[in-house]
């Protein structure tokens, strides 16, 4: 039964990602991407990665795509209109390069290869999946974990600074300078 489930999820994944890049309306593309992420989460569950699968739904489908939808709705985007010879040529070139990449990938996957020398790995201790991930994360990968939290902090500050825009920043700076240079 598991191979059938995998094939079902895989078909759903490929179909929805194709709709993401082919559909003209950005909101519909975003919704198809949510569907793609949820089917990918299903595949993760089949590959015995339960923690990663559900975190995928929580983070990607539940937070990142909501952010995308917010931005699309804020910008009030309508359907993409494209016409003209130049854009048609550009699109044809894009599909051609994609086909080349697909051919290359097929050559790689088809050719017989064996995993080369593997780096010393964290062997899975007999525990549930979440416990295994947690043990590895806080022992062997502690440094990347801390760096990632710094990265998130930097990203948060950066987003707020960027999204405020120049006008709001200038207003705040003027208010600050005017207040300081007001009374001696």
């Amino acid at each position: 039964m598991i191979p059938f489930l995998f094939i079902g999820f895989a078909v759903l994944l490929v179909a929805s990602s194709l709709m993401v890049i082919l559909h003209r309306n950005p909101v519909t593309s975003a919704l198809f991407l949510v569907l793609a992420f949820c089917s990918l989460a299903g595949i993760y569950l089949l590959l015995h990665a339960e923690f990663v699968g559900l975190v995928q739904v929580i983070v990607y489908a539940g937070a990142i795509m909501v952010l995308f939808l917010f931005v699309i709705m804020y910008m009030n985007l309508q359907k993409d209109e494209e016409s003209g010879l130049q854009s048609a040529l550009r699109r044809a070139l894009g599909w051609l390069l994609g086909a080349l990449l697909a051919a290359e990938a097929w050559m790689l996957v088809r050719g017989r290869w064996a995993p080369g020398p593997v780096a010393p790995q964290t062997l899975a201790p007999p525990a549930g999946n979440t416990q295994q991930v947690g043990l590895a994360l806080y022992s062997r990968y502690l440094f990347p974990f801390e760096i990632t939290s710094m990265l998130l902090l930097v990203a948060m500050v950066g987003v707020i600074v960027i999204a405020r825009g120049r006008a709001a920043a200038a207003r705040d700076a003027a208010a600050r300078d005017g207040g300081e240079g007001g009374t001696p």
Partner: protein
Amino acid sequence: MIPLGWSLALSAVLFVIGVVGVLVRRNALIIFMSIELMLNAANLAFVAFARALDSVDGQVFVFFVMTVAAAEVAVGLAIIVNTFRLRETVFVDEINILKG
């Protein structure tokens, strides 16, 4: 039991779809979404190998990739919003004011 080759083939297909999306579309948001598809293709390859090699390192790496992708999406969307405010457009071929 899912053969490793199936998962890798799926990952490759997803990656190619992402690449085509970046090359073909001109809406900055759709390009961004295609980049997310490529990141997820890489995640799928990691998880597939974690299963095949019976190691949990692949899943830990997926965790980090997801975190970095979330941070990247936030910053990228902030930049796109700012560009939209200045140029009134999200189509990347119309944002060419520096072109000589």
